[in-house]
Symmetry: C2
Subunit: 295 residues, 2 copies
């Protein structure tokens, strides 16, 4: 199966950004096409501002729009949208379309809150970790911060997910010139930046091995200023990737916009699980502690 990862930058407004995304989808050759986290807009969680809730008002319209894109191109399409369900409840939702039909939805369950990533202000945490059945396989769609947790990855695999998919928006904090303090300096240190990027790759690569599944992350690129002026903004680090069921790197993007395309073989993952039978030997009677905050 051919998979296309659309790694892109924000084009200044929703209209131009969506137009560009659709053009990239048109150029792509995948049966399964994956977009990055909150791909319609800038990554607005760089600061806490109520004005951004308006982005969620068009959720129903957005769903119709992307359904139509997936129908026209005859693809399975993983999108990432800002969903309003009522005043005061907003989700960071990955909606999956299967050749025109809504196949399912995953609402981000693990929500970060760190300088430049103020997501707890915007997003109600989702309460379900369920794979989504599509014509190309059972997709374990999770979102960004979820990727740092072995638990949702494991749960998706135990529920039959054949691929883990993470739409993502992650990058390095940029320093505003007037605030070159210690934290900023540390963030701007080349070695520290590499460490962060590698940590992000490593933890997901680990999920691939532990669960004998393909793992795909699609990340944003480009620099986005923090409009509040409190922080400098974020330089999204791209590096969208596909790892195989032994953690082998199948492809990895760079720091620029690109369509990353690979063939993956889901049958291969099934063979791997026969000779690396980790699921067989889990000691579930000893895992109670995992359901606690700490033990």
């Amino acid at each position: 199966m051919k998979v296309s990862l659309i790694q892109q930058e924000f084009k200044g407004n929703k209209k131009d950004t969506v137009k560009h995304t659709v053009e990239m989808i048109e150029k792509s050759n995948g049966e399964l096409v994956i977009l990055q986290e909150l791909h319609q807009n800038e990554y607005f969680c760089k600061c806490e501002d109520t004005k951004y809730f308006s982005y969620a008002e068009d959720f129903e319209k957005d769903v119709k729009f992307w359904a139509e894109v997936s129908r026209k191109k005859n693809i399975v399409l993983v999108t990432s949208l800002f969903e309003k369900v009522m005043d005061g409840i907003y989700y960071n939702s990955a909606v999956v379309f299967d050749r025109g039909r809504v196949a399912g939805k995953y609402r981000k369950t693990h929500i970060p809150d760190d300088p430049g990533f103020y997501e707890k202000f915007y997003f109600t945490p989702g309460d379900e970790i369920e794979p989504i059945d599509t014509s190309v396989g059972k997709l374990g769609v999770l979102v960004c911060w979820d990727q740092w947790y072995p638990e949702p990855a494991r749960i998706m695999a135990l529920k039959g997910a054949e691929i883990l998919i993470y739409p993502t928006a992650i990058g390095w904090l940029m320093c505003p010139e007037e605030r070159l303090d210690e934290l900023c300096e540390k963030e701007n240190n080349k070695q520290e930046k590499e460490k962060m990027l590698n940590a992000w790759i490593s933890v997901q690569r680990g999920h691939a091995v532990a669960n004998g599944v393909y793992v795909i992350a699609v990340n944003r690129v480009g620099k986005e200023k923090d409009e509040s002026g409190c922080l400098g903004g974020i330089e999204f680090w791209g590096n969208s990737f596909v790892f195989g069921p032994q953690g082998e790197e199948i492809t990895r993007g760079g720091l620029k916009e690109e369509i990353i395309e690979v063939d993956i073989d889901l049958e291969n993952a099934k063979e791997i699980r026969k000779i690396w039978p980790f699921f067989r030997d889990r000691r579930i009677e000893l895992y109670e502690c995992i359901k606690n905050r700490y033990c």
Copy 2:
């Protein structure tokens, strides 16, 4: 704190092997010294033969011996011994000594059974995942096959382990000349070998990131023939390593015997957990499925 990883080969019999290990310990400079899995003997699980149970008969004597080694050198010493508790119950036990005293014991909980690694024949699974308190910190000692599982790593971290330590015996299957069949050929393919080694490294590196802890594995080296003649034997792949709490590679050994020494800074891991606060955001109410075989 300085840590020494003793990566060694089997010297033909227990006496010579232990003598060599003690010499390596004498040369080492770590306050914490870690030995590989079942370091006193050959890796006998290459075939199923009742004669090897005799290796567990001297467990009490072995404990006294290694306690004395740790007392003399004034170190914390992680050993890996074959433990008999009664006829029919034998454990693969990591015994940790703290300057002469037994600090604690971990009995391998996840037991493999694959061609060349017939451990279910020999080992009763341990029923406790608990870190061991020592004068150099709280050690999350696990053993080999455990390393492929995010659950024991997570449990150790939730229970306060500051370092995960995996004594290990893993390698590539060697082909007997008379049996160059397809499985053997696959095992001997250079690319497949790299994939396996990298999978082993990747999954443990993932534990370091997910849990913000140091991860140390000490693996055996050398080729050991399968005495039963059923399989060719195992070429143990060494590559003992230390990863930091962001998954950064601090050191990695090669395919030969060596004492690998590094300084690690446990305070650093504490700082990392402040800015990468994964433990804060776990969604424990959604993790029930992890306690099931499958969901």
